[in-house]
Amino acid sequence: MIGVAYETFLLGRRAFLRWARVPGNWISTLFFPLIQLVLFSQLFKDIIQLPGFKESSYLAYLAPGQIVFAVFLGVSWVGINLLMDYHNGYLDKLRVTPINRISILFGEMVPLFVTCAMMAAVILVTSLALGASLVTGIPGALGILALSGLFGIAWAGTSFVPALITKNEQAAGSLSLLFFPLAFMSTAFVPVERMPGWLQVVNNWNPISYVIEAQRALMSTGFDAGLIGKALLAMAILFIVTQAATIWAFRRLTA
Protein backbone atom coordinates (compact mmCIF):
# COMPACT_ATOMS: atom_id res chain seq x y z
CA MET A 1 0.00 0.00 0.00
CA ILE A 2 2.65 2.50 1.07
CA GLY A 3 4.72 1.28 -1.83
CA VAL A 4 1.92 1.94 -4.30
CA ALA A 5 1.30 5.40 -2.84
CA TYR A 6 4.98 6.32 -3.12
CA GLU A 7 5.29 4.97 -6.65
CA THR A 8 2.06 6.74 -7.64
CA PHE A 9 3.46 9.97 -6.25
CA LEU A 10 6.72 9.60 -8.20
CA LEU A 11 5.04 8.66 -11.47
CA GLY A 12 2.28 11.20 -10.90
CA ARG A 13 4.84 13.97 -10.52
CA ARG A 14 6.37 12.93 -13.83
CA ALA A 15 2.95 12.98 -15.51
CA PHE A 16 2.20 16.39 -14.04
CA LEU A 17 5.49 17.90 -15.21
CA ARG A 18 5.04 16.35 -18.64
CA TRP A 19 1.71 18.14 -18.85
CA ALA A 20 2.85 21.42 -17.38
CA ARG A 21 5.94 21.68 -19.57
CA VAL A 22 3.98 21.76 -22.80
CA PRO A 23 2.01 25.02 -22.86
CA GLY A 24 -0.04 23.63 -25.74
CA ASN A 25 -1.78 21.38 -23.23
CA TRP A 26 -3.07 24.36 -21.33
CA ILE A 27 -3.92 26.46 -24.32
CA SER A 28 -5.78 23.84 -26.30
CA THR A 29 -7.79 22.78 -23.28
CA LEU A 30 -8.77 26.23 -22.08
CA PHE A 31 -9.31 27.83 -25.46
CA PHE A 32 -12.85 26.58 -26.15
CA PRO A 33 -14.31 26.98 -22.68
CA LEU A 34 -12.92 30.51 -22.47
CA ILE A 35 -14.27 31.45 -25.89
CA GLN A 36 -17.64 29.97 -25.03
CA LEU A 37 -17.64 31.75 -21.70
CA VAL A 38 -16.86 35.17 -23.15
CA LEU A 39 -18.74 34.85 -26.41
CA PHE A 40 -21.90 32.96 -25.45
CA SER A 41 -22.42 35.03 -22.32
CA GLN A 42 -22.63 38.05 -24.66
CA LEU A 43 -24.34 36.45 -27.67
CA PHE A 44 -27.09 34.79 -25.66
CA LYS A 45 -27.31 37.39 -22.92
CA ASP A 46 -31.08 37.70 -23.24
CA ILE A 47 -31.73 33.96 -23.02
CA ILE A 48 -31.72 34.47 -19.25
CA GLN A 49 -35.21 35.93 -19.45
CA LEU A 50 -36.68 32.62 -20.57
CA PRO A 51 -38.44 30.56 -17.92
CA GLY A 52 -36.22 27.89 -16.33
CA PHE A 53 -33.27 30.18 -15.69
CA LYS A 54 -32.98 31.23 -12.06
CA GLU A 55 -29.65 33.01 -12.26
CA SER A 56 -29.04 36.74 -12.38
CA SER A 57 -27.22 36.58 -15.75
CA TYR A 58 -26.45 34.05 -18.49
CA LEU A 59 -22.78 34.42 -17.54
CA ALA A 60 -23.64 33.17 -14.05
CA TYR A 61 -25.51 30.27 -15.61
CA LEU A 62 -22.80 29.47 -18.13
CA ALA A 63 -19.71 29.62 -15.88
CA PRO A 64 -20.03 26.28 -14.03
CA GLY A 65 -20.82 24.52 -17.29
CA GLN A 66 -17.63 25.89 -18.83
CA ILE A 67 -15.60 24.83 -15.79
CA VAL A 68 -16.79 21.28 -16.27
CA PHE A 69 -16.36 21.61 -20.02
CA ALA A 70 -12.70 22.51 -19.52
CA VAL A 71 -12.19 19.45 -17.35
CA PHE A 72 -14.00 17.34 -19.92
CA LEU A 73 -11.70 18.58 -22.67
CA GLY A 74 -8.67 18.33 -20.43
CA VAL A 75 -9.08 14.59 -19.96
CA SER A 76 -10.38 13.73 -23.43
CA TRP A 77 -6.97 12.72 -24.70
CA VAL A 78 -5.08 11.71 -21.57
CA GLY A 79 -5.13 8.01 -22.39
CA ILE A 80 -2.81 8.74 -25.27
CA ASN A 81 0.07 9.50 -22.89
CA LEU A 82 0.07 5.95 -21.60
CA LEU A 83 -0.19 4.72 -25.17
CA MET A 84 2.89 6.75 -26.13
CA ASP A 85 4.81 5.18 -23.26
CA TYR A 86 3.61 1.81 -24.51
CA HIS A 87 4.82 2.43 -28.04
CA ASN A 88 8.15 4.05 -27.24
CA GLY A 89 9.09 1.38 -24.71
CA TYR A 90 8.95 3.50 -21.56
CA LEU A 91 6.12 1.36 -20.22
CA ASP A 92 8.36 -1.69 -20.60
CA LYS A 93 11.12 0.15 -18.84
CA LEU A 94 8.79 0.72 -15.90
CA ARG A 95 7.65 -2.89 -16.06
CA VAL A 96 11.24 -4.08 -15.59
CA THR A 97 11.47 -2.18 -12.29
CA PRO A 98 10.10 -4.05 -9.27
CA ILE A 99 7.16 -1.69 -8.79
CA ASN A 100 3.50 -2.61 -8.47
CA ARG A 101 2.19 -2.33 -12.03
CA ILE A 102 -1.00 -0.62 -10.94
CA SER A 103 1.12 2.33 -9.79
CA ILE A 104 1.79 3.07 -13.45
CA LEU A 105 -1.92 3.58 -14.07
CA PHE A 106 -2.51 5.45 -10.83
CA GLY A 107 0.45 7.66 -11.69
CA GLU A 108 -1.45 8.79 -14.77
CA MET A 109 -4.80 9.15 -13.00
CA VAL A 110 -4.02 10.87 -9.73
CA PRO A 111 -2.30 13.99 -11.14
CA LEU A 112 -5.44 14.62 -13.19
CA PHE A 113 -7.00 15.81 -9.96
CA VAL A 114 -4.44 18.60 -9.82
CA THR A 115 -4.40 19.51 -13.50
CA CYS A 116 -8.19 19.52 -13.72
CA ALA A 117 -8.53 21.63 -10.58
CA MET A 118 -6.01 24.08 -12.04
CA MET A 119 -7.89 24.40 -15.30
CA ALA A 120 -11.16 24.77 -13.41
CA ALA A 121 -9.53 27.56 -11.41
CA VAL A 122 -8.62 29.47 -14.56
CA ILE A 123 -12.21 29.37 -15.82
CA LEU A 124 -13.61 30.20 -12.39
CA VAL A 125 -11.36 33.23 -11.96
CA THR A 126 -12.15 34.40 -15.49
CA SER A 127 -15.88 34.19 -14.90
CA LEU A 128 -15.54 36.10 -11.63
CA ALA A 129 -13.55 38.76 -13.45
CA LEU A 130 -16.31 38.97 -16.07
CA GLY A 131 -18.84 39.57 -13.30
CA ALA A 132 -20.13 36.17 -12.17
CA SER A 133 -20.72 35.78 -8.46
CA LEU A 134 -19.51 33.18 -6.00
CA VAL A 135 -21.90 33.25 -3.05
CA THR A 136 -20.12 30.53 -1.08
CA GLY A 137 -16.77 32.32 -1.08
CA ILE A 138 -13.43 30.57 -0.72
CA PRO A 139 -14.81 27.32 0.75
CA GLY A 140 -17.21 27.08 -2.17
CA ALA A 141 -14.42 27.78 -4.64
CA LEU A 142 -12.38 24.96 -3.12
CA GLY A 143 -15.45 22.74 -3.38
CA ILE A 144 -15.78 23.58 -7.07
CA LEU A 145 -12.13 22.79 -7.69
CA ALA A 146 -12.38 19.51 -5.76
CA LEU A 147 -15.48 18.46 -7.69
CA SER A 148 -13.68 19.32 -10.92
CA GLY A 149 -10.66 17.25 -9.96
CA LEU A 150 -12.78 14.26 -9.02
CA PHE A 151 -14.80 14.55 -12.19
CA GLY A 152 -11.59 14.68 -14.21
CA ILE A 153 -10.34 11.41 -12.77
CA ALA A 154 -13.69 9.70 -13.17
CA TRP A 155 -14.18 10.91 -16.74
CA ALA A 156 -10.61 10.10 -17.81
CA GLY A 157 -11.60 6.46 -18.20
CA THR A 158 -13.49 7.40 -21.36
CA SER A 159 -10.12 8.24 -22.85
CA PHE A 160 -8.04 5.48 -21.27
CA VAL A 161 -10.27 2.59 -22.28
CA PRO A 162 -10.37 3.25 -26.04
CA ALA A 163 -6.66 4.12 -26.03
CA LEU A 164 -5.62 0.95 -24.23
CA ILE A 165 -7.91 -1.31 -26.21
CA THR A 166 -7.13 0.01 -29.69
CA LYS A 167 -3.43 0.74 -28.94
CA ASN A 168 -3.72 3.35 -31.64
CA GLU A 169 -3.40 7.07 -30.96
CA GLN A 170 -5.58 8.06 -33.89
CA ALA A 171 -8.36 5.65 -33.04
CA ALA A 172 -8.25 6.64 -29.39
CA GLY A 173 -8.47 10.31 -30.31
CA SER A 174 -11.44 9.89 -32.59
CA LEU A 175 -13.27 7.59 -30.19
CA SER A 176 -13.12 10.26 -27.51
CA LEU A 177 -15.07 12.50 -29.90
CA LEU A 178 -18.00 10.15 -29.41
CA PHE A 179 -18.35 11.51 -25.91
CA PHE A 180 -18.61 15.14 -27.03
CA PRO A 181 -22.38 15.14 -27.54
CA LEU A 182 -22.74 14.22 -23.87
CA ALA A 183 -21.15 17.51 -22.90
CA PHE A 184 -23.49 19.47 -25.17
CA MET A 185 -26.55 17.50 -24.02
CA SER A 186 -25.83 18.37 -20.41
CA THR A 187 -27.17 21.40 -18.58
CA ALA A 188 -24.02 23.34 -19.47
CA PHE A 189 -25.90 25.66 -21.83
CA VAL A 190 -29.60 25.47 -20.96
CA PRO A 191 -31.50 24.24 -17.91
CA VAL A 192 -33.30 20.93 -18.08
CA GLU A 193 -36.68 22.70 -18.23
CA ARG A 194 -35.74 24.12 -21.63
CA MET A 195 -34.86 20.70 -23.08
CA PRO A 196 -37.13 18.55 -25.24
CA GLY A 197 -38.60 15.58 -23.39
CA TRP A 198 -36.23 12.90 -24.70
CA LEU A 199 -33.23 15.01 -23.83
CA GLN A 200 -34.57 15.46 -20.31
CA VAL A 201 -34.56 11.67 -19.97
CA VAL A 202 -31.01 11.45 -21.28
CA ASN A 203 -30.05 14.21 -18.94
CA ASN A 204 -31.19 12.22 -15.91
CA TRP A 205 -28.41 9.76 -16.75
CA ASN A 206 -25.80 12.30 -17.70
CA PRO A 207 -23.21 12.50 -14.92
CA ILE A 208 -21.83 15.72 -16.38
CA SER A 209 -25.08 17.52 -15.54
CA TYR A 210 -24.93 16.49 -11.90
CA VAL A 211 -21.47 17.95 -11.52
CA ILE A 212 -22.52 21.15 -13.24
CA GLU A 213 -25.64 21.53 -11.09
CA ALA A 214 -23.67 21.17 -7.86
CA GLN A 215 -21.09 23.70 -9.00
CA ARG A 216 -23.78 26.09 -10.18
CA ALA A 217 -25.40 25.98 -6.77
CA LEU A 218 -22.05 26.73 -5.15
CA MET A 219 -21.66 29.77 -7.37
CA SER A 220 -25.19 31.22 -7.34
CA THR A 221 -27.27 29.89 -4.46
CA GLY A 222 -25.18 28.34 -1.69
CA PHE A 223 -24.15 24.99 -0.22
CA ASP A 224 -26.85 22.58 -1.38
CA ALA A 225 -26.18 19.26 0.33
CA GLY A 226 -28.69 17.51 -1.91
CA LEU A 227 -27.08 18.62 -5.16
CA ILE A 228 -23.55 18.02 -3.89
CA GLY A 229 -24.58 14.58 -2.68
CA LYS A 230 -26.10 13.75 -6.06
CA ALA A 231 -22.97 14.97 -7.83
CA LEU A 232 -20.77 12.82 -5.60
CA LEU A 233 -23.00 9.81 -6.14
CA ALA A 234 -23.04 10.31 -9.92
CA MET A 235 -19.26 10.58 -9.90
CA ALA A 236 -18.89 7.55 -7.65
CA ILE A 237 -20.90 5.47 -10.11
CA LEU A 238 -19.05 6.91 -13.08
CA PHE A 239 -15.76 6.37 -11.28
CA ILE A 240 -16.45 2.72 -10.53
CA VAL A 241 -17.52 1.97 -14.10
CA THR A 242 -14.73 3.82 -15.87
CA GLN A 243 -11.97 2.76 -13.48
CA ALA A 244 -12.99 -0.89 -13.56
CA ALA A 245 -12.91 -0.80 -17.35
CA THR A 246 -9.62 1.08 -17.36
CA ILE A 247 -7.93 -1.31 -14.96
CA TRP A 248 -9.17 -4.22 -17.01
CA ALA A 249 -7.81 -2.67 -20.22
CA PHE A 250 -4.52 -1.78 -18.52
CA ARG A 251 -4.02 -5.31 -17.20
CA ARG A 252 -4.77 -6.65 -20.65
CA LEU A 253 -2.17 -4.35 -22.19
CA THR A 254 0.57 -5.08 -19.69
CA ALA A 255 -0.11 -8.77 -19.08
Binding site: L17, R18, L94
Partner: protein, 346 residues
Protein backbone atom coordinates in the same frame (compact mmCIF):
# COMPACT_ATOMS: atom_id res chain seq x y z
CA UNK B 1 26.45 -29.94 -40.69
CA UNK B 2 27.34 -29.62 -37.02
CA UNK B 3 28.65 -32.48 -34.97
CA UNK B 4 27.87 -33.20 -31.34
CA UNK B 5 31.28 -32.13 -30.11
CA UNK B 6 31.05 -28.83 -31.92
CA UNK B 7 27.63 -28.12 -30.44
CA UNK B 8 29.04 -27.75 -26.93
CA UNK B 9 32.52 -26.52 -27.40
CA UNK B 10 33.00 -25.44 -23.86
CA UNK B 11 30.61 -26.85 -21.34
CA UNK B 12 33.33 -26.33 -18.77
CA UNK B 13 33.28 -22.52 -19.07
CA UNK B 14 29.85 -22.07 -17.60
CA UNK B 15 30.13 -24.76 -14.98
CA UNK B 16 30.74 -22.47 -11.99
CA UNK B 17 27.88 -20.59 -10.30
CA UNK B 18 25.46 -20.04 -13.16
CA UNK B 19 23.73 -16.66 -12.98
CA UNK B 20 21.52 -17.32 -15.98
CA UNK B 21 20.15 -20.81 -16.59
CA UNK B 22 17.90 -21.39 -19.54
CA UNK B 23 16.37 -24.79 -20.32
CA UNK B 24 14.53 -25.72 -23.49
CA UNK B 25 13.00 -22.28 -23.87
CA UNK B 26 10.27 -22.01 -26.50
CA UNK B 27 8.21 -19.01 -27.52
CA UNK B 28 5.49 -19.29 -30.11
CA UNK B 29 3.75 -15.99 -30.79
CA UNK B 30 0.08 -15.69 -31.56
CA UNK B 31 -0.10 -16.33 -35.25
CA UNK B 32 2.33 -19.21 -35.01
CA UNK B 33 5.81 -17.69 -35.33
CA UNK B 34 8.23 -19.94 -33.45
CA UNK B 35 10.55 -17.14 -32.39
CA UNK B 36 12.50 -19.20 -29.86
CA UNK B 37 12.71 -22.90 -30.56
CA UNK B 38 14.22 -24.90 -27.72
CA UNK B 39 17.08 -22.76 -26.47
CA UNK B 40 19.28 -23.86 -23.53
CA UNK B 41 22.35 -22.17 -22.15
CA UNK B 42 23.99 -21.04 -18.94
CA UNK B 43 25.97 -17.94 -18.12
CA UNK B 44 28.43 -17.88 -15.24
CA UNK B 45 28.81 -15.09 -12.73
CA UNK B 46 30.77 -12.15 -14.07
CA UNK B 47 30.77 -13.49 -17.60
CA UNK B 48 30.24 -11.40 -20.71
CA UNK B 49 27.98 -13.59 -22.81
CA UNK B 50 26.50 -12.79 -26.19
CA UNK B 51 23.80 -13.91 -28.57
CA UNK B 52 24.96 -13.28 -32.12
CA UNK B 53 22.46 -13.71 -34.91
CA UNK B 54 20.65 -12.01 -37.77
CA UNK B 55 17.45 -10.02 -37.44
CA UNK B 56 14.54 -12.28 -36.63
CA UNK B 57 16.72 -14.93 -34.98
CA UNK B 58 14.79 -14.63 -31.71
CA UNK B 59 17.30 -12.60 -29.70
CA UNK B 60 14.89 -9.94 -28.48
CA UNK B 61 12.28 -12.55 -27.65
CA UNK B 62 14.76 -14.49 -25.52
CA UNK B 63 16.06 -11.45 -23.68
CA UNK B 64 12.55 -10.17 -23.00
CA UNK B 65 11.61 -13.50 -21.45
CA UNK B 66 14.68 -13.34 -19.21
CA UNK B 67 13.85 -9.76 -18.21
CA UNK B 68 10.31 -10.88 -17.21
CA UNK B 69 8.54 -8.87 -19.92
CA UNK B 70 7.29 -11.87 -21.84
CA UNK B 71 6.05 -15.32 -20.85
CA UNK B 72 7.60 -18.27 -22.66
CA UNK B 73 5.39 -20.92 -24.25
CA UNK B 74 7.42 -23.62 -22.52
CA UNK B 75 10.76 -24.21 -20.88
CA UNK B 76 12.28 -22.54 -17.89
CA UNK B 77 14.67 -19.74 -17.10
CA UNK B 78 16.38 -18.75 -13.90
CA UNK B 79 18.23 -15.52 -13.30
CA UNK B 80 20.41 -15.29 -10.23
CA UNK B 81 18.87 -18.58 -9.15
CA UNK B 82 15.32 -17.19 -9.29
CA UNK B 83 12.70 -18.57 -11.63
CA UNK B 84 11.53 -15.79 -13.94
CA UNK B 85 8.00 -17.17 -14.14
CA UNK B 86 7.52 -17.96 -10.47
CA UNK B 87 9.09 -14.82 -9.00
CA UNK B 88 9.31 -12.11 -11.64
CA UNK B 89 9.32 -9.35 -9.01
CA UNK B 90 12.47 -10.69 -7.40
CA UNK B 91 14.18 -11.13 -10.74
CA UNK B 92 13.43 -7.47 -11.53
CA UNK B 93 15.37 -6.43 -8.44
CA UNK B 94 18.46 -8.26 -9.65
CA UNK B 95 18.58 -7.21 -13.28
CA UNK B 96 18.96 -4.15 -15.43
CA UNK B 97 17.68 -4.10 -18.99
CA UNK B 98 18.65 -1.77 -21.81
CA UNK B 99 16.14 -2.50 -24.51
CA UNK B 100 16.65 -2.49 -28.25
CA UNK B 101 14.52 0.64 -28.58
CA UNK B 102 15.86 3.29 -26.25
CA UNK B 103 13.25 4.20 -23.65
CA UNK B 104 13.82 7.52 -21.99
CA UNK B 105 11.38 10.27 -21.06
CA UNK B 106 11.99 12.98 -23.67
CA UNK B 107 10.20 15.69 -21.69
CA UNK B 108 12.29 15.25 -18.55
CA UNK B 109 15.95 16.15 -18.10
CA UNK B 110 18.66 13.51 -18.04
CA UNK B 111 19.03 13.79 -14.30
CA UNK B 112 15.27 13.62 -13.75
CA UNK B 113 15.14 10.44 -15.81
CA UNK B 114 17.74 8.88 -13.55
CA UNK B 115 16.15 10.16 -10.34
CA UNK B 116 12.76 8.71 -11.20
CA UNK B 117 14.02 5.23 -12.03
CA UNK B 118 16.40 5.32 -9.06
CA UNK B 119 13.58 6.13 -6.66
CA UNK B 120 11.22 3.60 -8.21
CA UNK B 121 13.98 1.06 -7.68
CA UNK B 122 14.35 2.26 -4.08
CA UNK B 123 17.99 3.23 -4.35
CA UNK B 124 18.49 4.72 -0.86
CA UNK B 125 18.12 8.50 -0.90
CA UNK B 126 21.51 8.87 0.78
CA UNK B 127 23.20 7.12 -2.16
CA UNK B 128 21.08 8.14 -5.09
CA UNK B 129 22.57 11.53 -5.98
CA UNK B 130 26.11 10.23 -5.66
CA UNK B 131 25.30 7.21 -7.77
CA UNK B 132 23.73 9.42 -10.43
CA UNK B 133 26.82 11.66 -10.51
CA UNK B 134 28.99 8.58 -10.90
CA UNK B 135 26.92 7.22 -13.80
CA UNK B 136 26.76 10.62 -15.48
CA UNK B 137 30.55 10.67 -15.45
CA UNK B 138 30.79 7.09 -16.72
CA UNK B 139 28.37 7.84 -19.55
CA UNK B 140 29.87 11.28 -20.24
CA UNK B 141 26.59 13.06 -19.65
CA UNK B 142 27.53 15.34 -16.78
CA UNK B 143 27.45 18.43 -19.01
CA UNK B 144 24.01 17.73 -20.41
CA UNK B 145 22.31 16.37 -17.30
CA UNK B 146 20.07 19.43 -16.91
CA UNK B 147 18.95 19.46 -20.54
CA UNK B 148 15.66 17.96 -21.59
CA UNK B 149 16.32 14.54 -23.11
CA UNK B 150 14.37 15.38 -26.27
CA UNK B 151 17.38 17.48 -27.27
CA UNK B 152 19.92 14.63 -26.85
CA UNK B 153 21.62 12.86 -29.74
CA UNK B 154 20.97 9.18 -30.37
CA UNK B 155 24.22 8.20 -28.70
CA UNK B 156 23.47 10.32 -25.62
CA UNK B 157 20.02 8.76 -25.28
CA UNK B 158 21.56 5.30 -25.50
CA UNK B 159 24.04 6.13 -22.79
CA UNK B 160 21.36 7.65 -20.57
CA UNK B 161 19.22 4.58 -21.09
CA UNK B 162 22.15 2.43 -20.08
CA UNK B 163 22.72 4.56 -17.00
CA UNK B 164 19.10 4.07 -15.90
CA UNK B 165 19.63 0.32 -16.20
CA UNK B 166 22.70 0.50 -13.95
CA UNK B 167 21.39 2.70 -11.12
CA UNK B 168 20.67 -0.12 -8.71
CA UNK B 169 23.95 -1.95 -9.41
CA UNK B 170 22.24 -4.94 -11.01
CA UNK B 171 23.82 -8.37 -10.76
CA UNK B 172 22.94 -9.04 -14.36
CA UNK B 173 22.70 -6.54 -17.17
CA UNK B 174 20.66 -7.41 -20.25
CA UNK B 175 21.61 -5.49 -23.37
CA UNK B 176 19.54 -5.85 -26.51
CA UNK B 177 21.51 -4.54 -29.50
CA UNK B 178 23.09 -1.81 -27.38
CA UNK B 179 24.88 -0.02 -30.21
CA UNK B 180 22.32 -0.32 -32.96
CA UNK B 181 22.07 2.90 -34.89
CA UNK B 182 25.19 4.48 -33.40
CA UNK B 183 28.02 5.99 -35.39
CA UNK B 184 31.42 4.24 -35.09
CA UNK B 185 32.82 6.66 -32.51
CA UNK B 186 29.83 6.39 -30.20
CA UNK B 187 29.92 2.64 -30.66
CA UNK B 188 33.56 2.42 -29.62
CA UNK B 189 32.91 4.65 -26.63
CA UNK B 190 29.96 2.56 -25.53
CA UNK B 191 31.98 -0.63 -25.88
CA UNK B 192 34.51 0.75 -23.45
CA UNK B 193 31.77 1.69 -21.01
CA UNK B 194 30.25 -1.78 -21.24
CA UNK B 195 33.62 -3.35 -20.61
CA UNK B 196 34.13 -1.25 -17.53
CA UNK B 197 30.68 -2.23 -16.22
CA UNK B 198 31.61 -5.87 -16.71
CA UNK B 199 34.96 -5.38 -14.99
CA UNK B 200 33.11 -4.12 -11.92
CA UNK B 201 31.56 -7.58 -11.61
CA UNK B 202 28.26 -7.33 -13.46
CA UNK B 203 27.28 -10.38 -15.47
CA UNK B 204 26.47 -9.25 -19.01
CA UNK B 205 24.09 -10.80 -21.48
CA UNK B 206 24.19 -9.04 -24.81
CA UNK B 207 22.48 -9.60 -28.12
CA UNK B 208 23.81 -8.24 -31.35
CA UNK B 209 23.91 -8.78 -35.06
CA UNK B 210 27.30 -7.07 -35.35
CA UNK B 211 29.98 -9.70 -35.33
CA UNK B 212 32.68 -7.15 -34.49
CA UNK B 213 30.72 -6.27 -31.39
CA UNK B 214 30.36 -9.87 -30.26
CA UNK B 215 34.00 -10.51 -31.07
CA UNK B 216 35.23 -7.49 -29.17
CA UNK B 217 33.03 -7.71 -26.07
CA UNK B 218 31.93 -11.26 -25.42
CA UNK B 219 34.01 -13.87 -23.70
CA UNK B 220 31.55 -16.45 -24.92
CA UNK B 221 29.06 -16.41 -27.75
CA UNK B 222 26.06 -18.41 -28.82
CA UNK B 223 25.32 -18.09 -32.49
CA UNK B 224 21.57 -18.11 -33.00
CA UNK B 225 19.50 -18.53 -36.10
CA UNK B 226 15.78 -19.19 -36.55
CA UNK B 227 15.17 -19.55 -32.84
CA UNK B 228 17.92 -22.06 -32.21
CA UNK B 229 21.44 -21.96 -30.85
CA UNK B 230 23.58 -23.17 -33.70
CA UNK B 231 26.91 -23.29 -31.92
CA UNK B 232 28.40 -21.90 -28.77
CA UNK B 233 31.93 -21.11 -27.58
CA UNK B 234 34.55 -18.42 -27.15
CA UNK B 235 35.16 -16.33 -30.26
CA UNK B 236 38.60 -17.90 -30.62
CA UNK B 237 37.27 -21.44 -30.33
CA UNK B 238 34.56 -20.73 -32.83
CA UNK B 239 36.98 -19.31 -35.33
CA UNK B 240 39.21 -22.32 -34.86
CA UNK B 241 36.35 -24.55 -35.95
CA UNK B 242 36.54 -22.79 -39.27
CA UNK B 243 40.21 -23.56 -38.89
CA UNK B 244 41.77 -22.53 -42.08
CA UNK B 245 42.03 -19.25 -43.87
CA UNK B 246 38.98 -18.23 -45.78
CA UNK B 247 39.28 -17.62 -49.48
CA UNK B 248 36.26 -16.01 -50.99
CA UNK B 249 35.72 -16.29 -54.72
CA UNK B 250 33.16 -14.01 -56.24
CA UNK B 251 31.96 -15.36 -59.51
CA UNK B 252 30.71 -13.52 -62.54
CA UNK B 253 27.49 -15.11 -63.65
CA UNK B 254 24.43 -13.78 -65.44
CA UNK B 255 21.93 -16.09 -63.82
CA UNK B 256 21.53 -18.21 -60.72
CA UNK B 257 21.82 -21.30 -62.89
CA UNK B 258 25.08 -20.17 -64.36
CA UNK B 259 26.37 -19.38 -60.88
CA UNK B 260 25.40 -22.84 -59.72
CA UNK B 261 27.13 -24.41 -62.72
CA UNK B 262 30.35 -22.59 -61.93
CA UNK B 263 30.10 -23.60 -58.29
CA UNK B 264 29.88 -27.27 -59.08
CA UNK B 265 32.63 -26.83 -61.67
CA UNK B 266 34.88 -25.45 -58.96
CA UNK B 267 34.00 -28.36 -56.71
CA UNK B 268 35.11 -30.78 -59.40
CA UNK B 269 38.25 -28.92 -60.34
CA UNK B 270 39.50 -28.67 -56.79
CA UNK B 271 38.84 -32.28 -55.96
CA UNK B 272 41.95 -33.83 -54.52
CA UNK B 273 43.66 -30.46 -54.07
CA UNK B 274 45.12 -31.01 -50.62
CA UNK B 275 45.12 -27.48 -49.06
CA UNK B 276 41.37 -26.97 -49.62
CA UNK B 277 39.61 -28.45 -46.62
CA UNK B 278 36.08 -27.46 -47.46
CA UNK B 279 34.07 -25.66 -50.10
CA UNK B 280 30.83 -23.84 -49.33
CA UNK B 281 28.65 -21.78 -51.53
CA UNK B 282 28.38 -18.15 -50.52
CA UNK B 283 25.82 -15.69 -51.81
CA UNK B 284 27.92 -14.48 -54.73
CA UNK B 285 30.22 -17.42 -55.26
CA UNK B 286 32.06 -19.88 -53.07
CA UNK B 287 34.03 -19.83 -49.86
CA UNK B 288 37.03 -22.09 -49.58
CA UNK B 289 38.55 -23.06 -46.27
CA UNK B 290 42.20 -23.34 -47.12
CA UNK B 291 45.25 -24.19 -45.04
CA UNK B 292 48.11 -21.76 -45.61
CA UNK B 293 46.20 -19.90 -48.27
CA UNK B 294 49.04 -17.57 -49.23
CA UNK B 295 51.08 -20.54 -50.44
CA UNK B 296 48.17 -22.36 -52.03
CA UNK B 297 46.59 -19.58 -54.02
CA UNK B 298 48.79 -19.61 -57.16
CA UNK B 299 48.12 -23.32 -57.71
CA UNK B 300 44.50 -22.86 -56.81
CA UNK B 301 43.99 -20.19 -59.42
CA UNK B 302 45.78 -22.30 -62.02
CA UNK B 303 43.44 -25.17 -61.34
CA UNK B 304 40.42 -23.01 -61.79
CA UNK B 305 41.51 -21.76 -65.19
CA UNK B 306 39.07 -22.81 -67.86
CA UNK B 307 35.66 -24.52 -67.93
CA UNK B 308 33.92 -21.14 -67.98
CA UNK B 309 34.86 -20.24 -64.43
CA UNK B 310 34.86 -16.48 -64.28
CA UNK B 311 36.35 -15.18 -61.07
CA UNK B 312 35.34 -11.56 -60.46
CA UNK B 313 37.27 -11.17 -57.24
CA UNK B 314 39.37 -13.24 -54.93
CA UNK B 315 39.75 -12.21 -51.33
CA UNK B 316 41.45 -13.93 -48.48
CA UNK B 317 41.18 -13.42 -44.73
CA UNK B 318 41.60 -15.02 -41.37
CA UNK B 319 38.33 -16.55 -40.19
CA UNK B 320 35.87 -14.10 -38.63
CA UNK B 321 32.68 -14.79 -36.74
CA UNK B 322 30.88 -14.11 -39.97
CA UNK B 323 32.69 -17.11 -41.44
CA UNK B 324 31.70 -19.11 -38.39
CA UNK B 325 28.11 -18.13 -38.93
CA UNK B 326 28.41 -18.96 -42.60
CA UNK B 327 29.93 -22.34 -41.85
CA UNK B 328 27.14 -23.39 -39.47
CA UNK B 329 24.13 -21.88 -41.20
CA UNK B 330 25.13 -21.47 -44.82
CA UNK B 331 24.10 -17.82 -44.63
CA UNK B 332 25.80 -14.57 -43.83
CA UNK B 333 24.65 -12.68 -40.79
CA UNK B 334 23.74 -9.65 -42.83
CA UNK B 335 20.93 -11.02 -44.94
CA UNK B 336 20.73 -7.75 -46.79
CA UNK B 337 23.99 -8.82 -48.43
CA UNK B 338 22.87 -12.39 -48.85
CA UNK B 339 20.99 -12.36 -52.10
CA UNK B 340 22.66 -9.73 -54.21
CA UNK B 341 24.91 -9.42 -57.24
CA UNK B 342 24.64 -12.32 -59.57
CA UNK B 343 26.21 -10.19 -62.24
CA UNK B 344 29.24 -9.43 -60.14
CA UNK B 345 30.72 -6.15 -61.27
CA UNK B 346 33.29 -6.17 -58.51
Amino acid sequence: MVTETQQRLDETHAAAAPVIEVRELVKVYKGGTRAVDGVSFTVAEGEFFGFLGPNGAGKTTTIRILATLLRPTSGSAKVSGIDVLAHPGEVRREVGFAMQTVAVDPLATGRENLELIGRLRRVPASELQGRIDELLVLMKLTESQKKVVGTYSGGMKRRLDLATALLHRPKVLFLDEPTEGLDPQSRNALWEELESVNRSGTTMFLTTHYMEEADRLCKRIAIVDEGKIVVEGTPAELKRTVGNDVVELQLEADSPNELERQRSGIGRMLEGFEPVAEIKSSPAGVQLYVSDAAAAIPELVRRLDGDGIRIGALTMHQPSLDDVFMRYTGKTIREEQANVHFTGWY
